[in-house]
Symmetry: C2
Subunit: 496 residues, 2 copies
């Protein structure tokens, strides 16, 4: 007897999932362990394995199986998994191989040019490369739009967040723009009347910071029999369900920066680790997309760890660590300090969504043809002034600061703002169900909140489209109201 089409698909996608897990370990190795001289060979290995995966997913017989499986009687979850398979296949086959290669080549050149152009503050040197990338990614977006019956920009969003609509994103950013710039000004006003925070003692050796990071990871629920902490130039999470690895970057003069990044990556790791084991290596067992991934990370880093409850738990830990008293109120002033700055990755919780909003406005304009790449610097600087009240002195701290566009990652930035929003919604919902969340957090008890996330989010993998998933967890789709309430309570009322 032949296995059902669906069963054959599970076999095939299982192999794809396993190979993707290998890709994740290679990426981790590249950033943490690989000797410098191995870089070229590694790039070739990564290209070879990417080609293998692409071919597996694009294989013609896989299309037949997907068609046949549609006529089989499947449980609801298998039907969901089948949808996730279709999504993966649709994106892979929508773009001709020629174009995939052209994009890869153009983004590799653009990244190289950017590595020189950014420190030299030379947008003119970058321009032709970025123009080529935008042109090719537009072509990719159009090819996907045709295949997936959606707008080109939505097709890009859909790469990172299956099922997310253009309209949801637009509505969210429109709302953020209505309240956040004014709220930031109000917070600045409030904070201007209060004492300035006192910096923590420095320097602190890297390995002491790392031990403290591990201590916090354990407290949050990270299981070191299924993961690691290492160092790398930029912090990240990699790996998959049973072996989740995060990294930190330590700066001897800034303990908090390293620690909050550890908490952020731990949020990513807890999500991966909580994905449904029964669907391991299947598309339906993957995370629900980058917005939900960022939401998990930002929930712990921003909602939890920058709140007064957590800081009252952290202060005695730091006191023991420094051997000198660390005051929770001063800690709050340090990590809740709001100050518009040029650089997104250094931004505080209040101004961060405005950095994302700016990028969203500009990348949609680039894709609609309303903005030429050549006009990007001026448009960027004007938008910074409008949204944050400051103007970059050069393009290095302006439109050239992020790597995303250089790599052709348009449609990714919204994930950060969607994540901030969903995190606020999830904590509000968990708070309703769990009662006094802050009291538990102040005691260093995080299992209640983690359990809520496991049940309501992690356990569903990507079996539900992201909008359904969020609705199931918090009762509504993406809605910035919870974010506004949260920011106002923490930064104006100083209540959390």
């Amino acid at each position: 007897m032949t296995a059902s089409a669906y069963a054959q698909l599970e076999d095939r996608f299982r192999r794809v999932g396993l190979i993707s897990g290998i890709q994740a370990i290679l990426d981790w190795d590249t950033a943490t362990m690989m000797p410098r001289g191995g870089a070229e060979a590694r790039a070739e290995q990564q290209a070879a394995i990417a080609t293998l995966v692409h071919r597996e997913v694009c294989e013609p017989s896989l299309g037949d199986l997907l068609e046949n499986a549609a006529h089989e009687r499947l449980s609801a979850e298998r039907a969901d998994n089948l949808r996730a398979m279709r999504h993966r296949r649709a994106h892979a086959t929508a773009v001709p191989e020629r174009l995939v290669e052209e994009v890869n080549r153009a983004t590799a050149l653009c990244e190289m040019a950017w590595r020189d152009a950014r420190p030299a503050d030379d947008f003119a040197a970058l321009l032709p490369h970025l123009e080529a990338v935008v042109r090719l990614v537009r072509e990719r977006a159009q090819a996907k739009a045709a295949a997936l019956a959606m707008s080109p920009y939505q097709a890009l969003l859909d790469e990172h967040n299956p099922g997310l609509t253009d309209a949801t994103v637009r509505r969210l950013f429109d709302t953020i723009e209505t309240f956040l710039p004014a709220l930031v000004r109000e917070v600045r006003d409030v904070q201007g009347r209060r004492p300035a925070p006192v910096p923590l003692p420095a320097p602190v050796p890297a390995d002491a910071q790392r031990r403290l990071g591990e201590r916090l990871m354990r407290a949050l629920g990270f299981d070191f029999t299924h993961g690691r902490l290492d160092e790398s130039r930029h912090p990240f999470m990699s790996g998959s369900g049973d072996d989740v690895r995060i990294t930190m970057r330590t700066d001897e003069n800034d303990v908090l920066c390293g620690l909050f990044a550890v908490i952020h990556e731990t949020g990513h790791a807890l999500y991966e680790r909580g994905l449904p084991a029964a669907w391991r290596w299947q598309p339906g067992g993957d995370a629900a997309g980058s917005a939900m991934h960022e939401a998990q990370a930002l929930l712990w880093e921003m909602q939890v760890a920058r709140g007064r409850a957590f800081l009252s738990y952290l202060a005695p830990l730091l006191t023991g660590f420094f051997g000198a008293p660390v005051d929770a109120a001063n800690l709050a002033r340090l990590v809740q300090k709001v100050e518009p700055g040029m650089i997104r990755v250094d931004a505080d919780e209040c101004t961060y969504p405005l950095h994302v909003l700016l990028r969203y406005r500009l990348e949609t304009a680039l894709f609609d043809g309303r903005l030429d790449v050549a006009d990007l610097p001026g448009a960027w600087n004007d938008a910074m002034e409008r949204l944050l009240g400051i103007r970059p002195r050069n393009d290095g701290e302006g439109c050239m600061q992020d790597i995303h566009w250089m790599l052709g990652n348009f449609g990714y930035f919204p994930s950060y703002a969607l994540g901030v929003t969903a995190a606020a919604q999830m904590v509000a919902a968990a708070r309703k169900e769990l009662g006094d969340l802050d009291a538990a957090i102040a005691r260093g008890e995080f299992t209640g909140l983690l359990g809520w996330l496991r049940r309501n989010v992690h356990a569903h993998g990507s079996l539900r489209p992201i909008d359904d998933l969020l609705r199931g967890a918090v009762g509504t789709s993406f809605d910035a109201a919870a974010l506004e309430v949260h920011l106002r309570r923490r930064y104006v009322e100083r209540a959390t």
Copy 2:
């Protein structure tokens, strides 16, 4: 215009080579970095990638290309590479997939049974599993014998050492048996009349041992921009040409054991690193087989590092390291001590080939049907008594000590003896060409010897069959005469 069949083959095998490089990094990660809880997922990843590689090599169209390429005009080196491709393909396609899976299943079960049976000294518990493995590997050997037109045992040898003949191996072991047991008795006699060595100071912390290991690696020519040293339970080398990684196991109470293992693995690493860059990722660019790989490792560990010249270089290093005088003559008594023991991996330079000889005699008898698996313990113990003059007290220190047969690796053990032999031949040849090798070694200058190996061995990859390669380097095929001369000079005359 279509690319030539040969050019297409280079493309296909390049992908296979790159993926094999990924497999090597995964193996390394499994032994050094992977958290314990990732083991199951890793096993699945390794199986998935092995299946992919197997499929690439067995693809029917690859067979057509190999046939067509045979009619194309190729340079001598390309023709050699084509031969190496054929070898890879012939072994992969000779065995039906059903049998590959049966062997994998049986060896996995046998290894599990062995992990319990060895410490419990329970051969009866192992017996049915080992019988199954031997039966299936015999079947594999017969399938390969039919496809490759050679004897079943030669087909197994050929898996690890392309082109090595049955007759070469038999002649070598016959010769070793004629002189080595008597030589060991003679050496024991000589050493019995000399003072006993004094042990080195202990304990020595692991990280200090590791720094010393790195220092020696650098001295021998290991390039840390293209490699790493880490710790693992058993020392090994993994990786490929541009990123070669070795590991050590440190024992606080035995510095020398860890250091000599580092030197052994460095020998493996220098070989990988010296393989021809122009043939990177091609079958012809691989090492020439396990015998030559072991020869490279044993050349540095045994021929070089256990000699008086090297020890006179090492003694002052150790003196600085221990902060107490270390005497070169005592060092020599420590590392040149000859004493028949039960365990192969702990054996000294003189008795080691006898351990290998014993395994060769028994595994050929198992394959010829002259020996039943059930009679292995008695046959093992008799052979130990005959060759080494000692008799195991139990099967844990007898026929169950090695993992090789449990994994179905019959035909591998000869590589160790071939390696010992070739190492002696190579050092003798290098000595002739380079003049006073010992004076250079005593000064810590290893570039002359390494250069000789690079030119005469490493640079040829597996473009030549191993016999041709050795003949090109030293003038003859495998010949135990150089080994006998070497052992006599070092252990009887005490001249090196």
